[in-house]
């Protein structure tokens, strides 16, 4: 937190208009799952066989300068040099979030060294049945849980990372929060799904109104045992208590094609350098303020959490809001409780039909 705070303040004092917080470094697109909501891995085999070298990863990190590096994919643990990449980033004192479905975590855990700079961010979309259906793999949840427990036991920092689509049962999600906190994870990361135009499932992307209701039901009347590895202001944004504009340059994406334009989710082209990305992207064409239909349903963390973080560390009002959200805030809300009750009634008899 201190690192991010000083980074944001330095950038602000330096008059920087656009600066990155988290580099989304995709070392490969290959994956060992075929999730219905994912639009990241639909490529010809020769593209899926390609991967960034450690040197390319380090060059991108140096060029971009963000204090945090997220390693999504594809599945990073399929990368033959992932240990070298992680060690190189840790040596550069970058906070690394290795995003994994954990199918290989138990097997490869011994190759990594625990560090305050390294967190395994395990993809878990909910309780067993929900997660297995979401990742289209029966037994996926149990393997991931085994990996999480092994990593926690070995002294690694571990968070879970969930994406929610239309049909999500908020009561089940709250039960899921209890489960993962009991496993000893450091915090929970969550986000509504983005309507990837290449994802197999094109019918369950929530619009903003529905997303806000879902997250209000999930995150109000919060248990104190739940910890979130996210800005409290971003969580308030998801609940409809705040409004933000997108900060697409806050989480720039680099992969085998180059610097992805304009953001982690949309692929409208590639720039050769990070500076070229910043200088030549028509940023006014993106985000809800632009009216761009491709941005219309987006409330995803890669665009809106940087906005929340920059407000939190960039203004007194934002900082106070962040402090309030961090300490002892349970967000009591009777209407949200009524929404939970209603959802429980709806989901109970139709669980098999509506699980996503």
């Amino acid at each position: 937190m201190w690192t991010v705070a000083t980074y944001v303040l330095k950038k602000k004092l330096g008059g920087n208009q656009r600066y990155p917080l988290v580099l989304m470094l995709e070392p490969l697109f290959r994956c060992n799952l075929a999730c219905a909501g994912c639009g990241k891995i639909q490529y010809p085999p020769h593209i899926l066989k390609k991967a960034l070298t450690p040197e390319q990863c380090f060059a991108a990190v140096e060029e971009c300068g963000a204090p945090m590096v997220s390693l999504p994919g594809g599945e990073p643990l399929l990368h033959p040099q992932i240990v070298e990449i992680v060690n190189g980033l840790v040596a550069r004192k970058k906070y690394v979030y290795l995003c994994t479905n954990a199918l290989l975590l138990t097997k490869r855990l011994g190759e990594f060294t625990p560090s305050k700079y390294l967190t395994f961010s395990v993809h878990l979309d909910g309780q067993r049945e929900h997660h297995d259906m979401s990742v289209c793999k029966e037994g996926g949840y149990d393997i991931a849980i085994e990996g999480i427990k092994a990593a926690v036991q070995a002294g690694f920092r571990v968070t879970t990372n969930a994406t929610f689509f239309d049909g999500t049962d908020p009561t089940s999600v709250r039960g899921f929060f209890d489960e993962v906190m009991d496993m000893g994870v450091e915090g929970i990361v969550l986000s509504p799904g983005y309507s990837y135009d290449k994802a197999p499932d094109q019918n369950h992307f929530m619009g903003r109104a529905r997303s806000r209701r879902l997250f209000r039901a999930i995150l109000s009347n919060r248990k104190k045992s739940w910890k979130f590895n996210m800005s409290p202001l971003f969580l308030e944004f998801l609940m409809g208590k705040r409004n933000y504009e997108c900060t697409p340059w806050g989480s720039p994406c680099y992969n085998i094609f180059g610097w992805q334009r304009p953001c982690y989710l949309l692929q409208e082209g590639y720039a050769e350098t990070f500076q070229e990305l910043l200088d030549t992207t028509k940023w006014e064409d993106y985000g809800v303020a632009s009216g761009n239909p491709k941005c219309a349903n987006c409330m995803v963390s890669c665009g809106y959490e940087p906005s929340a973080v920059m407000e939190g560390f960039g203004s007194v009002k934002g900082f106070l809001g962040m402090v309030r959200g961090t300490f002892n805030k349970t967000y009591p809300d009777q209407q949200a409780q009524a929404m939970l009750d209603e959802a429980a009634h709806k989901h109970a008899p139709e669980l098999e039909e509506t699980s996503v």
């Binding site: 290959r30 994956c31 060992n32 799952l33 075929a34 219905a36 639009g39 891995i41 639909q42 490529y43 010809p44 085999p45 020769h46 593209i47 899926l48 066989k49 390609k50 259906m133 289209c136 793999k137 029966e138 037994g139 996926g140 239309d166 309507s195 135009d197 290449k198 197999p200 499932d201 094109q202 019918n203 369950h204 992307f205 929530m206 619009g207 903003r208 109104a209 529905r210 085998i256 094609f257 180059g258 409208e268 082209g269 590639y270 064409d285 993106y286 809800v288 303020a289 632009s290 009216g291 761009n292 239909p293 491709k294 219309a296 349903n297 996503v356």
Partner: protein, 142 residues
Amino acid sequence: MTAEAARFTREQIETLELAPGTKHEKLEGWVPEIAGENDLRDALEKAFDYRGDVTLTLKSGERVEAYVFNRLPGATLAASFVEYFTPSAPEKRRLSYADIARLEFTGKDRAAGKQWEDWIRKYKERKAAGEKGIALTPEALD
């Protein structure tokens, strides 16, 4: 974003219940007619969005199998470029629009033909048949 795409108002965005999904254009096997500059530009724009390989026939007669991952449109065809990977070379390559005579969508569209409903239906059928460990698996790379 294309100029003709309709823009949403703030009110439309904030009240959206379900985001409309994308209807995929069936491009696999398509050979666009290239009668003029605009046809070529439109076809290459679709090639950029296509999640499969295409075959480019150059004015020299050479044929190039390519995954087009970027396009850099300029004022003229000579100043416009596509960037691509071929299955046989590790490095990125670049080609001017002016060198391209023909384009064919020859590779399999990797983003087509997989529906959530199909997975649910198959899952239920296999579950009913007593199968365990049911899963969708990524396609083999070889």
